[in-house]
Symmetry: C2
């Protein structure tokens, strides 16, 4: 892969990278479509990164579907698939970590200690190996996208990080490889995340700006779903990911909710139409 990257750079080609942990769904394929608009070659990576899973998380049972993934990538027109083995990525002597301080400690980082250190480290490695001009991430993992953007800026990586829209099922459920864990009943219950975000949007559209009031609406919707257990439901500043008091600047409404044993996340992006404007734009 490094040799191929060197070659592509020597030919002044614009490489695009889509990093994945496999178990590919339409969300990943949308990233690849976007990459193909901007780049050639397009490289996809599949690597279930052990360093971003906590000791009690789902690393061992994380869905793996290499053969069908490879087929999907081929059909999507990916030029190269990079699928390293764990000892290639993390030999025994491995000891270097990249950490985005502050941003990594909140929300997902508080619920999953060490998670973002693992994410930042593996993404930095993949950016170095592939040397892409562009790398594409999904906004479903809003905090992750923010952290990777910060890391690339802070460490002067010659790669532009592109954050792409969330892909959803027709009933609103955000696509995620972890949706595969849901049984039929849980799958129905899982729409509660999108319904809660929709309720918040509705309040915001009606003029509510107070974060506590919006949080109450989120908890109201989520609490009515018997199979749901809220990990967090927060309205945060889109840059700092610190909680806001009022929604009068770019924000995220962020949810992390257990449906049965499956932990799902989702978010709604909210921003004034222009700085200072009271009219809000929403991106589910």
């Amino acid at each position: 892969m490094k040799e191929q990257a060197r070659q592509a750079r020597a030919e002044n080609r614009v490489a695009g990278l889509v990093t994945t942990m496999g178990a590919l769904h339409r969300g990943h394929l949308a990233l690849i479509d976007r990459a193909k608009q901007d780049c050639s070659p397009v490289i996809a990576s599949i690597f279930v990164n052990p360093k971003q899973f906590g000791p009690n998380e789902d690393f061992s049972k994380y869905p793996r579907a290499f053969d069908s993934d490879r087929e999907k990538l081929e059909q999507a027109g990916v030029d190269s698939l990079f699928a390293p083995e764990e000892p290639e990525m993390y030999p025994l002597s491995f000891s270097t970590y990249v950490n985005v301080e502050g941003l990594s400690d909140r929300l997902e980082g508080r619920s999953r200690p060490g998670h973002f250190r693992g994410v930042a480290t593996v993404v930095m490695k993949l950016l170095q190996i592939v040397q892409p001009s562009f790398a594409y991430f999904g906004r479903k993992d809003a905090q992750q996208s923010r952290i990777i953007t910060q890391m690339a800026r802070d460490l002067d990586v010659h790669t532009e990080i592109v954050v792409c829209p969330i892909e959803r099922e027709p009933d609103g459920l955000a696509l995620s490889s972890r949706n595969a864990y849901l049984n039929t009943e849980e799958r129905k219950a899982a729409t509660v995340l999108h319904r809660a975000l929709e309720a918040a949007r509705s309040e915001l559209a009606a003029g509510v700006r107070d974060a506590l009031q919006l949080q109450a609406v989120l908890h109201g919707t989520l609490g009515a779903e018997r199979l749901a257990r809220v990990d967090y439901a927060e309205i945060v500043d889109a840059e700092s990911f610190e909680p806001v008091v009022r929604v009068n600047k770019p924000c995220y409404v962020l949810l992390a909710v257990f449906i049965g044993k499956t932990r799902l996340i989702d978010n709604l992006q909210v921003a004034p139409r222009e700085p200072g404007s009271d009219e809000l734009l929403f991106h589910f």
Copy 2:
């Protein structure tokens, strides 16, 4: 600098980087000579990196000599000088750090908490900005060279790290920008580091392999110098920088000694002529 780096890569040139904190001496110039043998263009950076100084260290009084440095680099045939200002390297929002765990906690790292995190972070940034094929570091900072090599390997940086010999004054004192702090009497006393290493080499050449016995010899020489106060004097494994019991593999004899208020480091590289051989090679 980034644009120039992109240009050099687009032309498939082999760029070489020598990172410095300025206050240039013959040690730095030897690195540049070496870079010029392998690379074109050769880029030198000057940046006194605040993140590698502790709160009670000498950041503010670290010697700065930009005009004469620039002249020296020009005379040495450097193609580009990269001398960023602090807010360019570390804007207010800066929050990403690179840390080589384990190696960074020992010896220099124990005496200077956070030092190697600052070094790894700034070197990673400089490698990303300049994108060199080769980067040159002096073996005087043996632990630093080892950490940077480990970082580049772990994070898959497309740069080969080259560690170059120590340059010394005729009386054996290793060249260092901090030698400028020494008054006449201290300058004389400072040769005690090289004398201690020489005493250790002499014992090793006579067949002594026991690390405690060698340490006693180091402390004997250093203790006889009234102006010297030992921070550490250790014999460590050349890979792990863990203390060894016997010198029967590649090792460093490492010294950190205060001469008055000035902290100096030096080392002797020791290795069996070939694996398993009892005959040792020495590099001062």
